[in-house]
């Protein structure tokens, strides 16, 4: 495993005579920023209304703990224990006593207030720079009470963005395949959940095998592979309405689907007569274009964010390797040249990197390389893992890993994991069942 150990810099930049906290997320983080998340204050009347509507005793505390959890799992922040907080939430939100927060070594402080107004949830929150004793940000918004978890995620995103200078990834969802049963008769269902593992919902019943779901750019549609009636075909699912339709109904197998960055096309593999080639289908006029034409296996296509290029994997050299071509199929170039086999290339939303799965000497790696194939970096090594998907800000990868449950290699469990681009902060994401093939949505609040 290759990791660069670089210390985190907390840069305090004096602007207009006061300091602003900034977190550098491009570096491996050994020293997360201490932050105090004061519970959102709430008056008794609002508290009771929310308790009635949402069956949550104190919605202010609930939302704050979502923020705390998000900041903590990012690996960039260290939320401090509430036991040490000296100032009451309602007073802190009006005017923090910075000495008190300084005393517990908090460098940033989040305060806020939540109200029940006309059957709606109104929240306001503030981010404070404790050392400079200044307000960094103040925002307020109103939504339906049932959106309370999203409120926590949106606050987290705003704080993350203000402190790191980059968009967050908390108000997002993960679509994945929920798995149950023995390996020889695995039952698989499409499933969707919030990025933190809450609000899990199964989208299919498990009657047919489903694989590789991927979001469209607006995260309202999903394309995936279903074995409905034992015909492996690419399907399109509208998450809100539940409408499903087949999009890759050719006489053969269609698989490995993904959306184009403008959401207008689906790119996929079509296998026939022992050859797999890459095709696109325009969703509006259903016009099909052939992109590759080679006797080899060409699969796992993924567009660059500007739509001008496609990365894919092919065994035209004899073994599975990663290639890049123009989106019309011209200028095919192999970019992976290291030892081993390379698969599942996915272009970063920032455009600069391609994430992949590598197989070498009986191990599976998740790694990244630049789009010209240079600068290969392996982030994590394991017995079996694959299928990285990028967080919308391109800072975190989610993938799945199978772990043996005993030494004889008899049982196994499949789970979702995430890891920072730095190679640090590897975490398992809790799912109600075994899980595979994760795909990360875009930011929902954009």
């Amino acid at each position: 495993m290759i990791k660069k150990i670089i210390t985190l810099f907390l840069i305090l930049i004096p602007i207009n005579s006061y300091a602003l906290i900034e977190v550098d997320i491009t570096r491996g983080n050994l020293d997360p920023l201490p932050v105090a998340v004061s519970p959102l204050s709430i008056d008794e009347k609002s508290r009771k209304s929310f308790e009635k509507a949402l069956k949550k005793k104190n919605i202010g505390e609930e939302i704050s703990s979502i923020v705390e959890n998000n900041l903590s799992t990012s690996g960039l922040f260290n939320p401090l224990s509430k036991d040490a907080f000296l100032q009451a939430p309602n007073i802190a939100n009006l005017k923090p006593r910075f000495e008190d927060w300084n005393l517990i070594k908090a460098q940033a402080l989040i305060t806020g207030k939540v109200n029940y107004v006309d059957d709606k949830l109104r929240v306001e929150f503030r981010l404070w720079d404790v050392l400079a004793a200044k307000e960094m940000m103040a925002l307020a918004f109103t939504t339906v009470p049932s959106n309370w978890r999203r409120v926590g995620h949106i606050i987290s995103d705003k704080v993350y963005e203000r402190l790191t200078g980059e968009k967050g990834y908390f108000d997002t969802r993960i679509i994945y395949v929920a798995e149950e049963g023995p390996k020889t008769q695995r039952i698989k269902k499409l499933s969707i959940m919030d990025q933190d593992g809450f609000n899990n919902k199964f989208l299919t019943l498990g009657n047919e095998l489903v694989l590789t779901p991927r979001f469209n750019p607006t995260s309202q549609m999903v394309t995936y592979l279903s074995y409905f009636k034992n015909l492996p075909r690419v399907y399109l699912l509208d998450i809100e309405t539940g409408t499903q339709e087949v999009v890759g109904d050719f006489p053969g197998m269609t698989f490995a689907p993904r959306f184009s960055p403008d959401g207008k096309k689906i790119i996929m593999s079509f296998a026939k007569d022992g050859k797999s080639d890459i095709y696109t289908m325009d969703l509006e006029n259903r016009i099909v274009d052939r992109i590759t034409n080679h006797p080899s296996i060409d699969t796992s296509p993924s567009y660059s964010p500007d739509g001008k290029y496609i990365t894919f994997n092919s065994d035209r050299s004899g073994y599975q390797q990663i290639y890049v071509m123009k989106s019309d199929g011209s200028n095919v170039k192999r970019i992976s040249f290291g030892n081993g086999l390379y698969g599942t290339p996915v272009w970063s939303p920032r455009g600069d990197l391609i994430a992949f799965t590598k197989l070498h000497k009986g191990k599976f790696y998740i790694g990244v390389m630049r789009t010209d194939g240079k600068g290969e970096r392996l982030l994590t090594e394991n017995y079996y893992q694959e299928a990285p998907s990028w967080s919308p800000n391109g800072r975190v990868l989610i993938f799945y890993r199978e772990t043996k449950t005993n030494e004889k290699g008899e049982g196994f469990t499949a789970k979702l994991w995430s890891i920072d681009l730095t190679g640090y902060n590897e975490r398992q994401i809790k799912t109600p069942t075994d899980a595979s093939d994760p795909s990360w949505s875009s930011l929902l609040s954009n």
């Binding site: 023995p182 390996k183 020889t184 008769q185 695995r186 095998l209 694989l211 590789t212 592979l225 034992n230 492996p232 053969g252 197998m253 698989f255 490995a256 593999s269 296998a271 007569d273 022992g274 050859k275 797999s276 296996i297 699969t299 796992s300 994997n313 065994d315 073994y319 599975q320 086999l341 698969g343 599942t344 799965t357 197989l359 009986g362 079996y384 694959e386 299928a387 043996k404 290699g409 008899e410 196994f412 093939d437």
Partner: protein, 163 residues
């Protein structure tokens, strides 16, 4: 001279010993996995079912390969003969891969394997109208183990009656 002869004889005996012992170890290894792999292609019959007497339903492949072995071709010739005799029967060829590969590539590999079997059946007079190809990639292993023998059983194309 005599000494030389003794040396020579000793050398012959020694070589013979080495050859014998080499044979012994090879045999031991082979019997360890019940003589059921050649290279890394499964040659056993544990998982094999029969479409009719003397007509095995499946053929096996080497890692990352879709080339038919001599044994596979023999199996497929038996299947073709059986299909010619039973002209109303159609089949589905289900191609599979082992778990040591990425999911999407393995779907394509399963398809390629089943097509290798299909092409061979066609050269023995079976019309492509009677054959459907279906790849499961690594989704439906027959053996859930994670070792070379289990993987060899899973790299297969299975001929299934469609009607």
């Amino acid at each position: 001279m005599i000494l030389n002869k003794i040396f020579k004889n000793a050398l012959i005996v020694l070589t013979a010993c080495l050859v014998l012992s080499a044979c012994a170890t090879k045999k031991e290894i082979a019997s360890d996995i019940k003589g059921s792999m050649q290279g890394d292609v499964y040659t056993g019959t544990d998982t094999v079912e029969y479409l009719a007497e003397g007509v095995p339903d499946r053929v096996f492949f080497a890692t990352n390969e879709s080339i038919l072995t001599t044994a596979s071709r023999e199996t497929l010739r038996a299947q073709a003969a059986w299909m010619r005799k039973n002209s109303s029967i159609n089949v589905v060829l289900e191609g599979h891969a082992d778990e040591r590969g990425t999911r999407e590539y393995n779907l394509a590999l399963g398809e390629r394997r089943a097509n290798a079997a299909k092409d061979y059946l066609m050269t023995y007079g079976i019309s492509s109208d009677r054959i459907t190809v279906l790849s499961y990639g690594k989704e439906r292993p027959v053996d859930s183990g994670s070792n070379p023998l289990s993987w060899s059983k899973n790299r297969r194309s299975v001929t299934v009656k469609a009607n």
